[in-house]
């Protein structure tokens, strides 16, 4: 008989007791940590030092339970994102929500645990009307739960002992459809939280590790993929039940006193190791980075005039190692806005910790220790800490992945300077996905999200070699794009004509980034209706991050193309259907592919209805280069030409100053002498076509003083200059008069 079933039968109803309230536990954690600088005031790892073997056994059991929960529970899922890919996670926490152990999956989503618990504590959930063992809470709100975006749905289940909350088992996964006006998983074009779909502040939906009956109705009535969502909900709960059970076995074996002390030591121990790691790998100083994202909302005036404008989001961050670890300061980033790209501190943490855990926690226990070692400053009123309670954060990932990239790249700059070159590579976070809803000819409605380009991306160039294609995902340690055969089965009328790497699509440099991905989806007999939108982590008219590494170009943004009203049957007859974005554009240019409406989207597209033989092509997951393109080994340029990785000879010849000729078999062969000459010429051209910084500064300053910029840029500066730190930097750099401002006069 199943262990988990056994547990349910022995859960006693908890009596009202004199145990500390959740509010008391949280404030105690805050006070002790604040006063001592050590987690929970743990200055000595007394349990570990007294009996390291018992201590490790305790943790191994805790960790094993969480790992096992995922490996077993994910098979309950209905969404490929959860079962196949990294889009789910389980964890166990302290009473205060501080992480003790996590499963495989999108690890940093643990960042929000303490946010949700703090809200429950501040609002006396345990006092009225009490928290008992195995209670189930649903959480998907950014403001009260810290949830990155409502598409990430959390199930918290309480672990109680003698009437005291001793911890939480939490399961998370990325829903394929969460019931917003815009169908799918990221409510693009949301103006505020009321358009974000199913948004739950922490609310109890079940008891004794079972959901209550009414909860099913919420999924059925408030989302477009109820079966899928109900199964995902059951999946999260199944894993939590296993963890809850394991926790009680641990309490029985080690006793509550040991348990309460050990869970705090575990976090303090990992915090110390993380701080040591930072000191061992980094160079102290200040690292600056920036990125931009364009939000194109102009055209919403008929319905929401206050949101009817484009916004150029400015992502700005500095990283500064210090005694406690390092400080990541986002001051200078844009203010919040009436768009779906806003974050919350919890959501921003979930992004920031990705690179930090990768860099400093991979050799220790993965716990809340990272949250103490990585200090964050999110200025109030900014996009990371809105002073408006109803912001939408449906698609915060579109810009917070850039924030993570900035922090992660600071670490790459540090390891490069420190000599640990083997660790240093260019970090980009450029994901893609598409989502939508439809109704087949027989009247069956469905909602869907295709996560494939969220599953894996190319890796930016290393400082000593090219980046690899489709080898990682900054937001999940288990890159997997799933299978075309499974995604296709989820979206009835869309069929793959290609799922490839996109040649030439990366940042160039001495070493190039790993090529991005491109898929071609073909619409066949859509029935009554099918329409999709495409949220995106790089679909923004900008590069992934603002700074290239050591003279290379940063990774290009993603894009999509809709080709509607095509002569596809003719291409099918020729066996020459387009396989990726590049080929499709070439076929359009050559006239082989005839298209009534060809649209290239470099920002989120509004709902796109597809009909028979319409094509929808995307490109995402590119990454940046490292080093001066003119330093690239010509042999690598030739190899990329012959392998079709960088197929445009004219382009790469000018990019890298390489001259080659094609031999009889069509292979490119290097012309060494001509290459040397061309590189010399290009270097000369660089000097001829450029200005001394001082002269350039004078020209640019004149434009700045005249505010000679497009409205979106003007708006961006007016927002960022409203924060003292960036305002000061801007004024010092351009030496503008005291009364200068971008605010609307």
């Amino acid at each position: 008989m199943a262990v988990v079933n056994e547990r349910k039968q022995v859960i006693p109803a908890q009596p009202v007791s004199t145990a500390p309230t959740l509010r008391q536990q949280v404030s105690e954690r805050d006070r002790l940590t604040q006063e001592t600088g050590h987690y929970y005031g743990i200055t000595e790892l007394s349990l570990r030092d007294a009996d390291p073997i018992k201590y490790e056994r305790f943790y191994n059991k805790l960790h094993a339970a969480v790992l096992a929960a995922r490996e077993s529970a994910r098979f309950v899922a209905a969404s490929p994102g959860s079962r196949e890919m990294g889009e789910c996670l389980w964890g166990i926490t302290t009473p205060e929500g501080d992480t003790l152990a996590v499963s495989m999956g999108f690890l940093s989503h643990t960042a929000i645990f303490p946010v949700a618990i703090r809200y429950m504590a501040d609002n006396d959930y345990d006092v009225n009307d009490g928290i008992e063992d195995g209670d189930v809470y649903a959480v998907s709100d950014g403001k009260t739960g810290g949830v990155p975006h409502p598409g990430d749905f959390y199930s918290f289940t309480s672990i109680c002992h003698d009437g005291e909350v001793l911890g939480w088992a939490v399961g998370i996964n990325h829903l394929m459809e969460n019931g917003a006006p815009v169908a799918g998983s990221w409510a693009t074009f949301s103006v505020d939280t009321f358009m974000d779909g199913l948004v739950c502040p922490p609310m109890r939906t079940g008891r004794k590790l079972r959901q209550e009956s009414w909860w099913k109705a919420i999924w059925e009535r408030r989302t477009r993929a109820s079966t899928m969502n109900i199964l995902d909900d059951k999946m999260r709960l199944a894993g939590c039940a296993m963890i809850n059970n394991a926790a009680h076995e641990l309490l029985a074996e080690f006793g509550a006193a040991y348990y309460k002390r050990a869970i705090r030591e575990v976090i303090e121990e990992s915090r110390r190791m993380i701080v040591d790691n930072m000191r061992a790998l980094m160079v102290p100083g200040t690292y600056n980075g920036c990125a931009f994202r364009l939000v194109k909302y102009e055209g919403l005036q008929n319905v929401w005039s206050h949101a009817n404008k484009n916004t150029l989001i400015h992502v700005r961050a500095s990283v500064e190692p210090n005694e406690k670890g390092l400080m990541l300061d986002t001051e200078g980033s844009s203010r919040w806005g009436y768009h779906s790209y806003n974050a919350t501190p919890g959501g921003a943490d979930a992004a920031v910790f990705l690179g930090m855990i990768n860099s400093f926690a991979h050799n220790t226990k993965v716990t809340a220790g990272i949250e103490l070692a990585v200090q964050r400053h999110y200025a109030l009123g900014s996009i990371y800490n809105p002073d408006y309670e109803f912001t939408s954060n449906a698609n915060l990932w579109a810009q917070t992945v850039a924030l993570n990239s900035i922090g992660f790249n600071a670490v790459s700059r540090a390891t490069f300077a420190r000599g640990y070159m083997e660790e240093a590579f260019t970090v980009d976070g450029n994901w893609g996905a598409f989502q939508g809803a439809g109704t087949t000819a027989d009247g069956t409605s469905y909602g869907f999200t295709n996560f494939e380009w969220l599953g894996g991306t190319g890796r930016g160039a290393w400082c000593y070699k090219d980046g690899e294609p489709l080898v990682w995902a900054a937001w999940s340690q288990i890159a997997t794009i799933g299978d075309a055969e499974e995604f296709e089965a989820c979206v009835p009328p869309l069929f793959y004509l290609g799922r490839k790497l996109l040649p030439g699509y990366f940042g160039y440099g001495k070493y190039r980034g790993g090529p991005g991905n491109s898929a071609v989806h073909w619409c066949v007999e859509p029935g009554k209706h099918v329409a999709l939108t495409r949220p995106n982590g790089g679909l923004s008219c900008t590069t992934s991050v603002g700074l290239g590494m050591s003279g290379a170009y940063p990774g290009p943004g993603s894009f999509m193309i809709s080709a509607r009203g095509t002569n596809l049957p003719e291409l099918i007859a020729e066996g020459e259907t387009p396989r990726d974005a590049r080929e499709l554009m070439a076929q359009v240019d050559s006239g082989q592919l005839k298209v009534e409406s060809l649209e290239i989207w470099k920002t989120d597209c509004p709902e796109l209805a597809l009909h028979d033989h319409d094509l929808f092509v995307d490109a995402a997951g590119s990454s940046g280069g490292w080093g001066d393109p003119l330093d690239r080994n010509p042999a690598l340029v030739i190899q990329d030409l012959n392998d079709g990785v960088a197929p445009d000879y004219a382009f790469v010849s000018n990019m890298h100053g390489v001259v080659a000729t094609q031999n009889a078999t069509g292979d490119w062969v290097l012309d060494a002498a001509a290459t040397t000459a061309k590189r010399a010429a290009l270097r000369k051209a660089r000097l001829d076509d450029s200005l001394p910084a001082a002269d350039w500064w004078q020209q640019e300053r004149a434009k700045v003083l005249a505010k000679d910029v497009v409205p979106e840029v003007h708006e961006m500066y007016s927002q960022s200059l409203s924060f003292a730190k960036f305002d000061g930097e801007f004024r010092r750099f351009w030496q503008v008069p005291a009364d200068f401002s971008f605010s609307k006069e």
């Binding site: 061992a280 160079v283 102290p284 100083g285 200040t286 690292y287 364009l294 150029l312 050799n363 700059r413 300077a417 420190r418 000599g419 640990y420 070159m421 083997e422 000593y464 070699k465 030439g504 699509y505 008219c541 900008t542 590069t543 603002g546 700074l547 290239g548 050591s550 003279g551 170009y553 940063p554 290009p556 943004g557 894009f559 590049r582 554009m585 490109a619 001066d628 080994n633 445009d648 270097r683 660089r686 450029s690 200005l691 001394p692 910084a693 001082a694 350039w696 500064w697 004078q698 300053r701 434009k703 910029v709 497009v710 840029v713 500066y717 930097e729 010092r732 750099f733 351009w734 030496q735």
Partner: protein, 192 residues
Amino acid sequence: MAGEAQISKELIGQLIEGTIDDDNTNRLQRLPRKDQDRFLNYVAVLQSRVSWTDQILLRLGDRLYVVRNAAGQRTVKCDCGHEFGDYRQNWKLGCKVRVRRTLAEMREVYDPAPACPEPGWQEVREFFCPTCAAQHSVEVVAPGYPVVFEMLPDLDKFYRDYLGQPLPDESPDWYADRTEALTQRWAAGATG
């Protein structure tokens, strides 16, 4: 395995050259504890590869270093020997700058066409060494954006607290952004 690994200068040289094989790369990445003398070996290897003799204090980029020059100043120096001046000033302001503003100009560095940033909202800035024309940095930012000071190291703290080998010329004001001194002079009409 628990003990500290010794990483040869040959291997460090291969990292710098880009000739290291993946087995060795993998081995370095899997070290349970990084070799703590790596930095000094790294600097030694770098020093042996440059044509000049100023002491390398830190490597900022493939061809860019913070050095202590003959005059005892901590300056930013290019492989080719070009000096960018005090490392506390953003060295990019000692570069020659080329800006790509139009789609046609951006198309020369991004491929395929839709991969280009959007003119008006973004521009591509290239920073060259005035002497050897090495491309030391690229910015893709909004027009009017202050040139980003990518990394200002705290060298005294690094050498004293991280490496345990304090620099002879420690001073409290070594860790400060002095870029404004330059822009002030420019604003006053000076060039260069």
